[in-house]
Every structure is written in structure tokens, then in C-alpha cells.
């Protein structure tokens, strides 16, 4: 296998167990995942399905109970704690739902601080931070504190910060959750561009259906395991994720099949549908 084809991220058999005895929770159960350079992978799933736990383990923030995670050449799961910061600063960029900018630093300083951690300081760091922010169309906001920036601007600063040390892998936790649809779309487009133009791998954890068209792959994480997206459906009434094969109820309306978590949800859907038909 050549370097170009080698996955940026390789996850094998990752299991994570929290607690013991009666409070034991298996958050992840033998998860496998490969992410290639330039690929955008969207991981969806209901709340509590293990998405954030998986993202934390991929980002070397959390040790798995079993399994391995390899980022580039480094198997991060066997690394000692004191070596992990170097992996996080150079090989991974994080984009968070709440932006997580440092409130006392300006937009430029928020990017500079990450460069400083990687040993780039002074005018070189300032210049690189300026370029990154200008690339995010924030040239007029360089010296603004986060409190003076809009949500979209904050998230663009966060993306610039994530890209500061040119990591191979971007990990995004609900990057559009706190943004309106237009700004959220802009953020996703930018992430797509980063993958296409710079060859970065992007893993996005989100509930946002609007991201789907921009992803190369959409994975469904449920109950700690990846399931085939094709076999999953969302109950149109309560929004719960359910497997089509084992769904307690389903209904065909106007040539489309709807799956429900219970007969109650199905009845509610039917009543609404009848009322809608009567109105029209």
C-alpha cells in the first residue's frame, strides 16, 4: 500500500466501558473505522450512542478499554500520557460545538496560542494566524475578542485554530449545532473545502441531517456499534433511530415507507396524515 492510499485514521475493535458492576456501561463495542485522506465522514446516531466517546478516543483524549487507534504512523492507544499532547497538537485539529475559544484572547491570539504550543512563535506565528483567519474571511476581525464575534465567526476562528498546525485529521463535534442553517451550511462547506483542497480527513459527529450531502460517507452509531445506514430509519413522530427490520410498526403512504418505534407513534402519524389530507 502506498503512502497516498494509507488511511489517515485507523480504528480497530475499539471498546469503551465506563463504571463497574451495576453501573457498568458499554459505550463502544468493537468499533472499526478507516478514514482516508481527503475524506469527510459523518457519524450520526441518537444521543448516548457513543459518538462523543468515539471522537474523544480518536482524538487521543480518552483511552479505550480495548482496541487500537492509529493516526498516521502513530498508534495513539499505546502511547504514554506525556506523548499524547504532541499528537493532539500536530496531527489532530478539533472543532467543537461551543466553539471553545479562549475568552481573554483575540481571534488571532486564539490561533497563535496553538502554534505556540507547536513551537512556532513570534512574528511567524502571527503571520500564519493572520493568513489562516484571512482564509476564513476574518481579516477584519483579527483583533476582536470572541465576545465581539458572531457564532459563525467564532466557528470559523475555531476551524482556523484547528488548521493552525496543518494536521492530517480534523475532528468536529456538532460543528453546526449552535448556528443557524445558513451559517451552519457555510461552516460545513468550508470543512468540505478543507478536505477537497488540502487533502485533510474530516470526521464529523452530528445530528444535523443537512451535513449528509457534504459527506463522503455517513455512518450510524447506535448502542456503541456502527450499523448500516441503509438499514436505519428515523421515526417521523418521535425522531428515534430504529432498525428497519426490527421496527415494531411501519406504514406505506404515497409510495414511501415510514418506520415507527411503536404503534402509538404510527397511529399519531396516521391521524396527522388524515387531517392533512382533509385540509387539502
Amino acid at each position: 500500500m502506498s503512502d497516498v492510499e494509507r488511511p489517515v485514521l485507523t480504528v480497530r475493535g475499539v471498546t469503551k466501558v465506563f463504571g463497574e458492576g451495576a453501573s457498568r456501561v458499554e459505550a463502544l463495542r468493537g468499533v472499526d473505522l478507516d478514514v482516508d485522506p481527503g475524506e469527510v465522514v459523518l457519524i450520526m446516531g441518537p444521543s448516548g450512542s457513543g459518538k462523543t466517546t468515539l471522537l474523544s478516543i480518536i482524538g487521543a483524549l480518552l483511552k479505550p478499554t480495548a482496541g487500537t487507534v492509529r493516526i498516521g504512523e502513530d498508534e495513539v492507544t499505546v502511547m504514554s500520557e506525556h506523548r499524547l499532547p504532541a499528537v493532539r497538537i500536530r496531527q489532530v485539529g478539533f472543532v467543537f460545538q461551543d466553539f471553545n475559544l479562549l475568552s481573554a484572547l483575540t481571534a488571532r491570539e486564539n490561533v497563535q496560542v496553538v502554534l505556540d504550543f507547536a513551537g512556532v512563535s513570534g512574528s511567524k506565528a502571527r503571520q500564519r494566524a493572520t493568513e489562516l483567519l484571512e482564509g476564513m474571511e476574518l481579516g477584519q476581525r483579527l483583533d476582536f475578542l470572541p465576545e465581539k464575534l458572531s457564532g459563525g465567526e467564532k466557528q470559523r476562528v475555531a476551524i482556523a485554530r484547528a488548521m493552525a498546525n496543518d494536521p492530517a485529521l480534523l475532528l468536529c463535534d456538532e460543528p453546526t449545532a449552535n448556528l443557524d442553517s445558513r451559517i451552519g451550511h457555510d461552516v460545513v462547506v468550508r470543512l468540505r473545502e478543507i478536505a477537497d483542497q488540502r487533502g485533510k480527513s474530516v470526521v464529523i459527529v452530528s445530528h444535523d441531517e443537512r451535513i449528509k450531502p457534504h459527506a463522503d460517507r455517513v455512518l450510524w452509531l447506535d448502542d456503541g456499534v456502527f450499523r448500516e445506514m441503509a438499514t436505519m430509519a428515523v421515526d417521523p413522530v418521535c425522531g428515534m433511530a430504529i432498525e428497519r427490520e426490527t421496527a415494531p410498526a411501519h406504514l406505506e403512504v404515497d409510495g414511501e415507507t415510514y418506520y415507527f418505534c411503536s404503534r402509538g407513534c404510527m397511529r399519531e402519524f396516521q391521524e396527522e396524515h388524515v387531517q392533512k389530507a382533509q385540509r387539502s
Binding site: 480518552l62 493532539r88 478539533f94 481573554a104 504550543f117
Partner: protein, 369 residues
């Protein structure tokens, strides 16, 4: 960037910063002022040794200072000393500690009996320079002013009824003041004859003080010979010995106050920013880098506090000098160094708790909302 982040974190909340810096200022000022007053007082108590012209002082064997001592030896010994090669003058001085009473008020004083016109008398004057007559006394101008005394007022000192004849300057100290009178009058009042308390030895130009001192010790039994510096050192030691425990206690209190204030500020700043430290950890900051940020926060608080305290202490020193406070304050380099070292210790200790908290912080907590 670590220092920049630390200073931004601190300056983000001005009120907290002001409280922190004010705490350090108070703690450091407490120590600087106490040290300064002690240094000033120490300088005052050696004013006689520092200003009266002599090279060596001879006293009764074993007597090495003025405070709380009595010294008498035969005047004949002083005459023998005057004959030693290299000795130009050997001037007798009588000395006792007494209360002087002026306008019904009493004040502790070193009473010096000297030969008018010879070494042993006042060196600075408030008003007209005079030589004491048989029934006259020269007291410090500040004492006279405090008691409302004027030239010609009756003064009782050392068992004699005298008249205020002149006003000396720079002879008060934290302990007492110095009053001067005619040696013969002193002898009469105290019932003394043929004895002196101290001999003030002036050497010929170029004479070797050590050689003369050794010769006096060898040839004149029952006396102690000291250089001017040794005599002053002994006096200084008396004051420092008396105040050491007090100073240690006050320094410790200042240290604790500073420690408590800085520790609280750095800890609350750290706690308030804990989630941001978690973010920094998540995006790759090592513990060592975060420790540097916390230490920089401490260092900035301490430095600002220290500079503030030093500034105020120097202003106080100037103000006391200008307005003529009874006890001068002298900010010494030794005191500044001590406070700086103490402040560095405070800063280091104050950082320990936040550092421990940050070390325990798990970077994955950044995802907890």
C-alpha cells in the same frame, strides 16, 4: 504566549486583579515599613558614634555599647592612653541613662557630660550653637518642641537642676534622645571624681588604629578598646536583638496575608478558567505549559504588588523625611531582597493548588456540556 495568556486572564477581571495586587501590596508594605522603621531606628541609635569625631573608644572592660550600660574607669588611664604613640587626643566623656524633665514632662535620655569645645558634644544645631555652662543643658530640639520648652526653661536631668541652653538636631531615636552638659557639672551632680565613662581617642594622621588599639589593650588593664565601627555595630545589635522576634512575627504575618490573598486569587482565576484549561489540554497543551501559565499569573500578581508596595514605601520614606517624623524610615536593599524572595515563595506556594487541579483535569471533559 503563556505569559500573554496569563496576563489576559488576570486583566480580564480588573476587580479581582486589584484585590489580588492590593493584598500583595499590603503584605509587602507591612514588611517593608517594619524593616524600614527598624533600619531607620538602627541608624538613629548609632547617631552618637556616627557623628562625634573619634577613631577609637575606650570603655570599662566589657562595655561595648551605650544602651543600658554603665561604664566607669579611672581618668588616669585615659591620661596614660594619651601618651601612647599615635594618639593625638584622648577626650573624656561621662555618660548615664536618665530621665530629663522639661515643663513637667519626662523623657528618657542618654546624658553625656563632655568638655565644652572638645569631642563628645552636639554636631548639629537647631538655632544658635552654644557651649554648655556649669548649669546649662543642651537637649534635642524635637523633645523641646514636643514638651513646649524654650531656651532658658528649667530642666532636671541626672540629679541636677539645669537650664535649657541650646537645641541639638538629630539626636532623638526610637529609644530616647541625647542630652549634653558640661563634664564638671555632670561630675558634681553625680558625685563622681577622677573617673570617666568613655575615652574618645583621636589618632595622629596616618596612625594605625589597630596597632594603637592593640597597644592600649596590652598596656592599660581594665578597659575595652573598640573602633568607631565596632562600637556602632554593638549598639545596632542591641536594637536588632530586641526587635528580632517582633520582626519575625510581623514578617510571618505579612507572608501569610500575602500567601492567602495571592493563593485565593490565582486559585479562583484558575477555577474560573478551568474549562479553558481543559480546552487547551484537549488541543495539545502539555501540563508543563499550563503550569507556566498559572505560575505567570502568580508572578504578575506578585510583581505588580511588589512594585506597588515598594513605590508606597519609598513615598512614605520621603514623606517621613520631609515632615520630620520622629522615627525615620529607611528602605534598604536587604529588605527589598528579603520581600522579593518572600514574595517569590508566596507566588510558588499559591500556584501549587491550581497546578494540582489542572494536572487532574481530564482533556476529554471538554466535550461535557
Amino acid at each position: 504566549m503563556g505569559v500573554a495568556l496569563a496576563s489576559r486572564n488576570l486583566f480580564e477581571n480588573r476587580t479581582r486583579l486589584v484585590v489580588s495586587v492590593a493584598g500583595v501590596v499590603l503584605a509587602a508594605l507591612l514588611i517593608l515599613v517594619l524593616d524600614g522603621v527598624l533600619a531607620g531606628a538602627t541608624r538613629q541609635v548609632t547617631t552618637f558614634m556616627d557623628n562625634v569625631p573619634f577613631d577609637l573608644v575606650v570603655s570599662q572592660r566589657g562595655v561595648r555599647n551605650l544602651h543600658m550600660t554603665t561604664s566607669f574607669f579611672a581618668e588616669s588611664k585615659l591620661r596614660e592612653i594619651a601618651r601612647i604613640d599615635g594618639v593625638r587626643h584622648a577626650d573624656p566623656v561621662l555618660y548615664t541613662t536618665t530621665f530629663l524633665t522639661l515643663r513637667g514632662q519626662r523623657s528618657l535620655a542618654y546624658l553625656i557630660g563632655y568638655e565644652p569645645g572638645r569631642p563628645g558634644g552636639p554636631w548639629a544645631w537647631a538655632g544658635r550653637q552654644v557651649l554648655p555652662t556649669r548649669d546649662g543643658i543642651i537637649v534635642d530640639a524635637r523633645i523641646a518642641e514636643d514638651f513646649g520648652g524654650r531656651i532658658g526653661d528649667p530642666v532636671t536631668a541626672g540629679g541636677a537642676d539645669l537650664r535649657l541652653e541650646g537645641l541639638a538636631k538629630g539626636t532623638t531615636s526610637i529609644l530616647n534622645s541625647i542630652a549634653f552638659m558640661d563634664r564638671d557639672a555632670f561630675e558634681s551632680a553625680q558625685g563622681l571624681q577622677g573617673v570617666v565613662s568613655f575615652g574618645l581617642i583621636t589618632l595622629d594622621p596616618g596612625a594605625d588604629a589597630d596597632r594603637v588599639a592593640r597597644q592600649i589593650r596590652r598596656e592599660i588593664p581594665g578597659v575595652t578598646v573598640l573602633t568607631r565601627e565596632e562600637f556602632a555595630d554593638s549598639e545596632r545589635r542591641v536594637v536588632s536583638d530586641m526587635s528580632t522576634e517582633l520582626m519575625q512575627m510581623m514578617n510571618f504575618i505579612g507572608f501569610l496575608v500575602g500567601l492567602a490573598v495571592v493563593a485565593l486569587t490565582v486559585y479562583t482565576t484558575t477555577l474560573q478558567k478551568l474549562s479553558e484549561y481543559g480546552i487547551l489540554k484537549a488541543i495539545g497543551a502539555s501540563n508543563a505549559r499550563l503550569v507556566r501559565v498559572v505560575c505567570a499569573q502568580s508572578a504578575i500578581s506578585i510583581t505588580l504588588g511588589l512594585l506597588g508596595a515598594l513605590g508606597i514605601a519609598l513615598l512614605l520614606q520621603g514623606a517621613l523625611g520631609y515632615f520630620g517624623g520622629r522615627v525615620p524610615m529607611v528602605v534598604t536593599w536587604a529588605s527589598v531582597l528579603k520581600v522579593t524572595i518572600g514574595a517569590a515563595a508566596v507566588g510558588s506556594l499559591a500556584s501549587l493548588l491550581p497546578i494540582a487541579r489542572i494536572a487532574r483535569l481530564k482533556p476529554a471533559e471538554v466535550f461535557r456540556r
